[in-house]
Symmetry: C2
Subunit: 327 residues, 2 copies
Amino acid sequence: MTITIKDLGEIELLSRLKKFMRYGQIDDDIAEINTTNKSLLINTDLLVENIHFSEEISNAKDIGWKCITTNISDLICSGSANIISFTVGLVLPPNTHWKWVEDLYEGMSEAMQEFGGEIIGGDCSCGETKIISITAIGAMTPPRLHRGNALPGDYIVSTGFHGLSRLGLALLNSEQLPSEVQISHELIGRAINAHKRPYPALKALKALIECKPESISWRAAGTDSSDGLIDAIRGICQSSNCQAVLSKTSILKDPDWPDDSLWDDWILNGGEDYELILSLPKGWAEALCKKFKSAQIIGFIKQGKPNIFWDNLEKINIEQSSLFQHF
Amino acid sequence: MTITIKDLGEIELLSRLKKFMRYGQIDDDIAEINTTNKSLLINTDLLVENIHFSEEISNAKDIGWKCITTNISDLICSGSANIISFTVGLVLPPNTHWKWVEDLYEGMSEAMQEFGGEIIGGDCSCGETKIISITAIGAMTPPRLHRGNALPGDYIVSTGFHGLSRLGLALLNSEQLPSEVQISHELIGRAINAHKRPYPALKALKALIECKPESISWRAAGTDSSDGLIDAIRGICQSSNCQAVLSKTSILKDPDWPDDSLWDDWILNGGEDYELILSLPKGWAEALCKKFKSAQIIGFIKQGKPNIFWDNLEKINIEQSSLFQHF
């Protein structure tokens, strides 16, 4: 028999969710964190069905993984390598199956086992559409990464490949690909996995922290590429009031990625990649690429009105990069 | 001309919301709090249109006030007299007027001016229904109030009147009243105000902290009466595994409240009252009632399987009190 959350009622539903939490909404409505860290980073993300996730292409476990990992990525790209806790606000239609809710929380638990943190509380309500509202709390560890911390002379570093998640989405949606080329089964697998199970750059952040040359201060700019590689760099340029010059040949692609320029837009503007995009003093950038193999210097920062160029001085259309408006 | 959020687009919308935040979602996706408090209390509440609020009876400013104050009440009834910060997740249909959003945040700001705290970040998305997801953070100050802290011999204290918000809701909805009696304009005003502008018991908590006799430890049980007076006491009895005996004559009513037993159910189970319901050692309960004039001892705690009785040993139907299931 399929049990819906309407069958359960709110009290039984909350009681069943208790096993996923340290302590939460049952005996008290409030969660508590104990920390010796003076500064905490807080991030709230909303995931709305059919806008941020679709049950046609992702199951509940994948959605649970994704809503925790995308939120963790925001903490990581602000400099938090220590993920402490989450609260989960859940809006569900009354006919939602309990199994779906359980799988959602299991996907969240898998992500927390991988990256840290625990669910400490939340709230539940019925509504017409499924909505997941996650607030994540992390401890601040230096460097505090801000988009606005870049300086002329910095090197721009990407911690991994781009475009895979966009390709995965296209494959899952049976969209037309940029051109008719044969793609390998391995690439298909990696692309679908990148879309369904994004993997935030926690290891890259830890490497960044460990490899800083002593002679260099903790100043670093950073963001994640959740809205695309170019959008991440645009954000750094705008917040830091500077220009970026990118080297097209340095932007790494998956080894099986088609060698066809029609596919470049997904590398640049695909989105949902969750790599760290950093602007670092030269010595630190070089140390990171040495320590963390998938990191690559892809350009540099120079003075000037916020803009992005290729190293042949060709201007990059940064307006096109804002594809992630949700209204 | 009426500006909708679709006209504005996400970036302009977030930019306009910036004035309501210390710093937030614009240059970085993350918020930061600095605190010297070792323990923080965190609460997430969801408010869904037509379930938790209705635009037919509340304007956007009232809704903004209410979503902050109901959340603050959860912090207060856990023992936090120091409200630090909020994140706001907002789901809005694309045709939502900007003015509505601005008024919502102004109502939130009014509440924060009254009780403390500031908005430090959040997220926005479009969706079919308006949904407001608030995460509030407060610093822990002793006593840490838990529902599960009551002990036999404690006195039960209510910090104010009950039933007003339920009457206000009935008046705003033109519902039939429990009986046909004349009610004063003053009561009507207080009832509507109690429903639209709930006022959490921060002053009562501060009085509780200040009046504790030195000879007594910080152990105290507490919750708010957001789901009704009886439901609050039921929660304490269940979590503390004890019984409550209530004195019907001690339960305070608004001076203009109809002297008609048909109206009692709204006092007992009306909900949305946001008073503190405490279980305290006798000396502390008496000190609180002396210091804080609207506080009143309404019963006591005794050993036994969780249940609530009147002092004539009549059993109170505690099943009926669970009126606030949202599925």
